[in-house]
Every structure is written in structure tokens, then in C-alpha cells.
Symmetry: C3
Subunit: 145 residues, 3 copies
């Protein structure tokens, strides 16, 4: 993965170019930690995955159900945000993927392996954006106060 | 719904955090009016809805067909724009939603109820962006002159 | 197609408003050439198409498979980027489309005919963003070095 710096001030925007075999979430988390990113907008992101794990949150059960996508699939959209939870950058990403016949599958993005590329914009902000674990849902939510 | 201000100049960007039970469109329209927003980019937005109404525009009939989505559904993307129609802020949003099995459903976003969260970026611009009702389609279109 | 200039500095953002009958890719490529755009973020874009051609990249065969979408379809998302290949602006766009029943179809966007509108944000950057044809895949990839 390589970061292409497109703008530096007043906000910093990079286009992250991932390549075949890249494991998106750990690489992105490493980038966030290395760069000290505490708040950010992620997306649009397009490309293709060889495999991915998506999840669906069942609010009645209060938990995520994960399901695996065996690729290849096109990535028609990956987007979301970066906030801070317990002092660490916290990603929240959703994805829409499409198969050979164009049919789409989507959900909360848990993991993804790239082939041949993923091109993902990220804009970071200086302001704090904090998550806290919500007592009712158990989810790390942004303050909606 | 709470607005988290991420940037103030030269453009203003907020991340809007909606919570369970929030009725997205009226809350967003209230925010636009309160803040005097006349032009804006909306999205990316991700989260989940307990229900939503989407619409499909049939150009031959010249009208929208609405259909209801019974959730829970993940929101893999909500995005669009804000312009001004007859002096009032006018939202135009489309959404892609995904069900428990990952299958996707999309269209023009008419209404949506949040559960447990929707996290939606909005960037406002000082320039005017005007819609006018198009004689041929009856739709409030941007000037394409 | 008309460009509505929303911001001029430090980066330039336009909302492009396409109308019925507009052939999206050639019009967008003409805009990129006329404006000398070498690097950009494209999206979010929403609207509707009367027809489109999408493609799926098969990494084993090393080639794109194209398929035609007969509309009308809503455009729930068009996004991607602009880089430079051999001195010319190079678009890379993916799209998610939805049919009358809300079902979605997506992929790499090859061509699209608008009806009645497409509203597409584009932000240009001064920095160079270069593509080179990758020996292994034959694709014009961003440097991932």
C-alpha cells in the first residue's frame, strides 16, 4: 500500500493505492497509527477484492453476523470514517461489492484481500471525533448527545 | 442527531451522528435550515436503518414509484447534495442498503428511520447552487445550461 | 453537462450536472482535458441512467467482461478518481445502479447515458497522480511502491 499525498492544508488528503494480496484493514490501521490520525473521512474507494468478510448487525440480538465473500468481486464503494476510541484510531467502514453478473452484496467491512487494486481516499481532520461504547447496544458509537 | 464540526474554513465539514429512532430526512432538513446551508455535498454516510422508503423514477410515466424497506438493513452508502429551490434548502439523496444475507437494495431516499446509528458527512459551500422545476420532467433539476 | 463551481481554493470542487441524453464518459473526459485536470476525486454522484455498460475484471483471465444494463436505472453511487496516464487524464469510475424493484447491479463503469440527470462532484488537486501500465496485469495501476 502506498499513500499518494494530494493536499496538505488546511486538511490533508491522501489516495491510498493497495495492491494484490494486501490485507486492507491491518494496513489501513497501521497507516492511521503511523500518521496519528484521530478523525477522518474515508472514501470513495473503488477496486476489487479476491475475498472479503462482511457483517450485518442484528439489533435484536445485539450482535454482528459475519459472512464470507469468495471473490473475485468488484468494489463499487468502500467508505466510512475514522474516530478515536480509548486513545486509538477506530475505523468504521461499509462496502458494496459486485460479482461477475453485476449482482451486489454489501455490509459492514470486517476484512478484505485486494486483487488487483483498491484506490481509497482518506481526508484527516485536526478536530477530535470520539467514540464511546454505548451501554445499550455495546457498540462504539459517536456521541449523539 | 448531533453535528460534529470537523473543519470550519475555507469550507465547513460536519459529521452528523444520528441515533436509534431518528427520522433522517426531517432532522437533516432542520439542520440545513438552522445552519442556512444553500449548497452542499452529502456523504459518504454509513450505518443502519430499521426501515426506509426508497423510490424509483419512471421517466416514461414521469413519476416516482415508492417502495418500503422493512429492516433491519445496513446502510452501505447514503450520498447526494443540497441545493436551493425557491429559497429553501433542497436535499437530493440516494441510498444503497443491504440485508442480512448481504443482498442490496437501492434508490432515491424518501425517508429512513435509524437503528442504531447513521454517520453522515456534509460539506457546505458558500456558492449558490440552484434548482428549478423542469417543465419537461416536472423534476427540480440543477441548471444544466 | 454544466459545471457548477462550488469552491476554488485551496482545492477546486465542481458539481457537474448532466442532462437527458448526455453520454457521461466522453463529456467528463472533455471536461478533464479542457480544465487540465491531472488528479482528482470523483463522487459522490447520484441520478439515473437510461442505459449503461458495466464491466467485471477477471484476474485469472486478465481481462474485463462487459455487460449492458438496459434502463431506466437509478444511480445510487458513481465514484472514483482521475489520474494521469501518458500525459492524459485517466478516469477510473465504479457504479452501483438500482432497478425498479430496488435490486442493485454494479461494476466498473464503461459508459452511461443519462436520463433525466446525473449530479457528480469532482475535486481536483494540483499534485501529480500517475498511472503506469502494470506488466503483470496489463492494467493502468497507480504506483503502489
Amino acid at each position: 500500500m502506498r499513500a499518494h499525498r494530494l493536499q496538505t492544508a488546511p486538511v490533508c488528503t491522501d489516495l491510498l493505492a493497495f495492491g494484490t494480496g494486501d490485507d486492507v484493514i491491518p494496513l489501513l490501521q497501521g497507516f492511521l497509527r503511523d500518521e496519528g490520525i484521530r478523525a477522518g473521512r474515508v472514501g470513495p474507494g473503488i477496486g476489487a477484492f479476491s475475498s472479503a468478510v462482511l457483517a450485518f448487525f442484528d439489533p435484536q440480538e445485539g450482535k454482528y453476523h459475519e459472512f464470507e465473500i469468495q471473490g473475485p468481486v468488484e468494489v463499487t464503494n468502500v467508505s466510512g470514517n475514522v474516530a478515536t476510541l480509548d486513545g486509538e484510531p477506530r475505523l468504521h467502514l461499509h462496502a458494496t461489492l459486485s460479482r461477475r453478473d453485476g449482482s451486489c452484496v454489501g455490509g459492514h467491512l470486517v476484512s478484505a484481500r485486494v486483487e488487483p487494486t483498491l484506490e481509497l481516499f482518506i481526508t484527516r481532520y485536526d478536530r477530535a471525533l470520539l467514540r464511546e461504547v454505548d451501554a445499550e447496544t455495546g457498540l462504539p458509537l459517536l456521541d449523539r448527545g
